[in-house]
Symmetry: D2
Subunit: 378 residues, 4 copies
């Protein structure tokens, strides 16, 4: 396998995590993934791009992202910039024949995501979107149990992503609180993970009712002025699935006491599975076919037996963390790139499927009505 | 204090639990509650009434509940019969000047509950409704924390009651699956507890959107025929509170793996509390004013320091159970009866406030729209 | 079945709990247990005995326990007095042909317990000792799993009972801190439960090494003087079992943060079980024969499927508490009394088997050496 | 700061983990640590050394570890080989003026460890021993709480490390089951972590009683023959601390159901802390000075507020894992190397302090007596 040559656009926190992930994927998984060549990096802040060269091993930095998307020595463009720039960068990368990995949410709305999907389909290139959690061994194992019929027919599927880093009025104004830059607030930032996970586990969502709340309506800008917040601090969704199942989603970045609580529960006619990122090395599984006097939720400790975690540790519960989540995702991406085709998702299409639901949620919350999710054909 | 003379209508499982509760309240709490005189009992099945005399200490049984409601030696009528009989029995008891304790749900709909409240108000008698969980020490402590401002302004309030005893298609047809007898299914049977708890903790619900599901549409009757189920196996609610808070409710008796999981979480601007009956001797409390490096959810073990549990045990976590829940509720009821007025609820008005929400939920689920809860004046 | 006529000696907290238990056993379990006749009660404090008559349903009180043990209308004497009085009362009761239920520890040492066992054996009467926890459904289920081979050969068996009610120097001097009255401190008071549970689950202990600690060496007496404490606040034991297994015990009433943490873990070649009273409605069970990718500790919720809990509730996790523990034990005792022979323990012999270990622990702690447990023949 | 030039001896699983750790420390912590130059690697199996060059970024491999210890372009030698080779390699490295990081256990016995400490002291070089867990943010926070007096005087300190990877008789014979190669079994391999943690948190252990068990006395060698196991599968220890505290240790690699359960609990007069690696992103803390009705163990989620985790993630509970543990330890080591002196341990002296206890444990288990730990002067 030839080395995969990467161009990174965006060298903030997420760019750092991706940089570590490429290195670790190579070191953890050895020859099962192609080697990685971190060719070029850029950021809107040139100092960040230079730090990526000096500290994270990137070969060179450039000033303009067009130099990355058009570079001859780049196979794949990795996009870690703010939400409103994703579509332009990704379209340009595809136009230059680059594979693209884009952080989530893929676009500000389903229209943008749809344009990306159409361009990707026309190009035949590999696309990936940064829904890392569905690739996590505990989550992938949940999917495996569902696929095998271990929980029977899915009746209820619910998810939540609660954090509290924006729950304090002292957090200053930023692009994340501006609808024009971010699309939405907690919904897009963390709720998108809930939507992706539920659709990954229980299939497409067909209808939604929703409630969006802004607890802190004004925040202080850098210049000291009070500015209106135009996005949600919390979104609650009542969702129907095409399968006939139903469920709820709660997404909040003002969920006091919850620090990184991305969780889901899928209840079936025969069993159930549940998960929370706050105990990310555990998956809970209930099997109603166990004898009545010895049935109970099993706390499965994530380890070598689970999809994606093979090759990392020697025993279960040795401890996988956030950087490992990205290394596992990088392994999947690198395998796709080595194959030149998508062996495993999530792809831009998964990003679109989330954006379609997000659009419907915003619509339903504004109307106070149950709204059908409009699906685009590809 | 004179002994309180009780007439019991309904001698099934719940009648048994109430019978134990009266005895235990007297033995656990001593002179702080009036003595109890279990005067008379009836049931639609006379054999059950006779068992209550022989095994549970009731002095005599009668064949017709009118003999209880009209009996001269009864101070309070305790109603533990199926839902569709509550209104008639309670109205008759009030008409005869008896105080009334009625199991939940108070009536099949808000109209019935409203008639009861009007009769009760006119009579000046003490009424109580069987929402025992809000009287549980862990729950009462949650309320105390909220009242004291320990969690700040309530932003999110959600609840669930998940059990799985009706999740199997082999469970036969019964009155609980018949809308005409039961009013609703999981919504009234277990969801009513969720609604009462959330209104107890976070104030009145103003609007709802809802989804009702029937997973097992037909069940086998006693005669072997397949009969249509006309109630919900699961109800999901998106609720707005008058205070501006919002939240979700999930009520199901087909929640595979959940055995008695009545839980809630109330998230505020300063802290949070959460609870599940499956760990009923614990209350979780997060205080964001604790120092950053040592804050975290506290697992408070229920014990003598908590409202209602004083006088029972000598140390926390000694273990309170379902029978204790009813003894604690009986203590509150007996205190009210000794005083001749309501010192603490829940009263029929609380039962009405739940029924009003229940009606709105059924309406919203049928319409697929957000519905305002109609409140009756008293 | 004829009613069982009971004489109660000791009407403090434990006498109250026993009084409730007899009532509840009759009400919960109906005709499967004989009726109970609470004939006579006494206490060293006459006021307590009188309260037992007025509040707990005992027919009469007497001043001297000899009046109970020799009473013609008593079938069984129930002893709930301080530890140093157990032997005299029980011997006298047996001498008068009464069955005896005695609270734990049975005696101050193995010699006293042995005398009781010899008298009991000679009499042919039914004896019971107050080790309620082994009769708890979660614990009885653990024993059932072990008996069935579900965990294979026992390799490790350990237990703890940690509470913190005596961890504060402000707790005043009492008979419990006086070796002459109590025999030992935390060892006898709470450690005896650990020893009973481990021997119940893993068979006889053969050797011990031990460490006894007194954290608060002097406490304030009623007259304000500082008095030496002569018992342990904490005892730690390294135990060998006759089977070849080994384990540890930690017993403390100064275990800050633990409120009623009686727990055990039994690890076998094929599986494991563990339990804590702080989550008494759960039993954890690991089965290594489950498939590698879906094995994990099962959290079994205690309910109708488990030994002793049948007949109480309709669903698992409905919640059993401390008073239920005594009702379940009372059911077992009443069944034995109805049969006139021991159908299920624990009997005085089990009390002796604990006392033999307790003596060895005190010896080992004093010597700093590993000590063989001396077993008495019967 | 100049780059630190590293020579790695041992390129198996642990060598891989160290290789990742150096990279990640540089990428996670940036300029706060010196750059790392992975100069040379060796292994008894040359193929492993070559893999380290091709996959993990080492510049060259050599055949003989003497070439590493004597190399001119190496500042620090990192030893990840089997236990019985540690002393020779480390002595040679020190003799050549190299700083040394050595995996645990430092030596087969205290004599070997003492020789290393003497050589290290004479050299003035920086030494480190691979006790990574005490550097873990959750554990370091526990130490901080203890140092600040948040739990008062330590009364009880206990630890366990339970795994089950060797609990099956099918695991073949290897050097780890041979006392001459490994020194001991579970005691040295995993119990050494328990001893280090307890001494780190509660000070030096002064006396021990112990029990060592071998559950599987013979295992199958590569040639198919059955060979005697000469080490322990499980060791239990009753420990006294110089401070007057006491506690127990349970170390086992046959603890069915426990996958990576390194845990401890330290109970003090005012509070308590506890931890388990199976939930490594949590620390439990009880503060008895919290008000009685709202006290309870706090589940502290590890994050930026905790020692060692600063600079990694943006929110608590984002998830730290095993590779992060080694990156944090590498940061500490690299800081020491940059300073040319020990800013933070653990050093060879800490390795010796564990070995002294290990020797006493083996002695106590053989004798069945309580043994004083012999401390070497330095």
């Amino acid at each position: 396998m030839q080395a995969v040559r990467i161009g990174l656009v965006g060298a903030g926190f997420m760019g750092k995590i991706h940089s570590i992930a490429y290195r670790n994927a190579a070191m953890l998984f050895g020859h099962e993934v192609p080697a990685v060549d971190p060719v070029v990096v850029t950021d809107f802040d040139p100092a960040l791009a230079e730090r990526a060269v000096s500290d994270w091993g990137w070969s060179r930095s450039v000033r303009d992202w067009h130099e990355v998307t058009s570079s001859n020595d780049v196979d794949v463009v990795d996009i870690c910039t703010p939400n409103d720039t994703h579509v332009d960068i990704a379209l340009d990368a595809l136009a230059h024949g680059k594979h693209v990995l884009c952080e989530k949410p893929l676009a500000l709305d389903a229209d943008g995501a749809h344009r990306l999907c159409q361009a990707a389909a026309a190009s035949g290139l590999v696309t990936q979107v940064g829904f890392v959690y569905r690739q996590w061994p505990g989550v992938a194992m949940a999917r495996k149990l569902i696929d095998e019929g271990a929980i029977g027919d899915v009746r209820t599927a619910r998810a939540q992503f609660l954090l509290d880093y924006n729950g304090n009025p002292d957090v200053p104004m930023s692009w994340r609180f501006d609808r024009n830059r971010a699309g939405s607030g907690a919904l897009g930032d963390v709720g998108s993970h809930c939507i992706d996970l539920l659709q990954f586990l229980a299939g497409p969502i067909s209808h939604v009712a929703a409630r969006m709340q802004t607890f802190i309506p004004r925040r202080t800008a850098h210049d000291g002025s009070l500015v209106d917040v135009s996005v949600d601090d919390q979104t609650e969704i009542l969702a129907d699935f095409e399968s006939g199942a139903s469920g709820t989603i709660l997404a909040s970045w003002a969920g006091t006491g919850h620090k990184c609580d991305l969780g889901f529960e899928v209840i079936g006619s025969r069993g159930s599975v549940s998960f929370s990122w706050e105990r990310s090395n555990e998956l809970r599984f209930f099997d109603s076919t166990d004898p009545a006097d010895r049935q109970g939720y099993r706390t499965i400790l994530v380890g070598p037996a689970h999809p994606g975690a093979d090759g990392i540790h020697t025993v279960a519960a040795q401890g996988l963390g956030y950087t490992d989540a990205f290394a596992i995702a990088a392994r999947n991406t690198l395998r796709n790139l080595a194959a030149g085709r998508v062996l495993s998702g999530p792809t831009f299409v998964d990003g679109l499927r989330v954006a379609e639901v997000t659009d419907a949620v915003i619509h339903a919350a504004a109307d106070g009505s149950r709204v059908a999710v409009t699906r685009r054909t590809l």
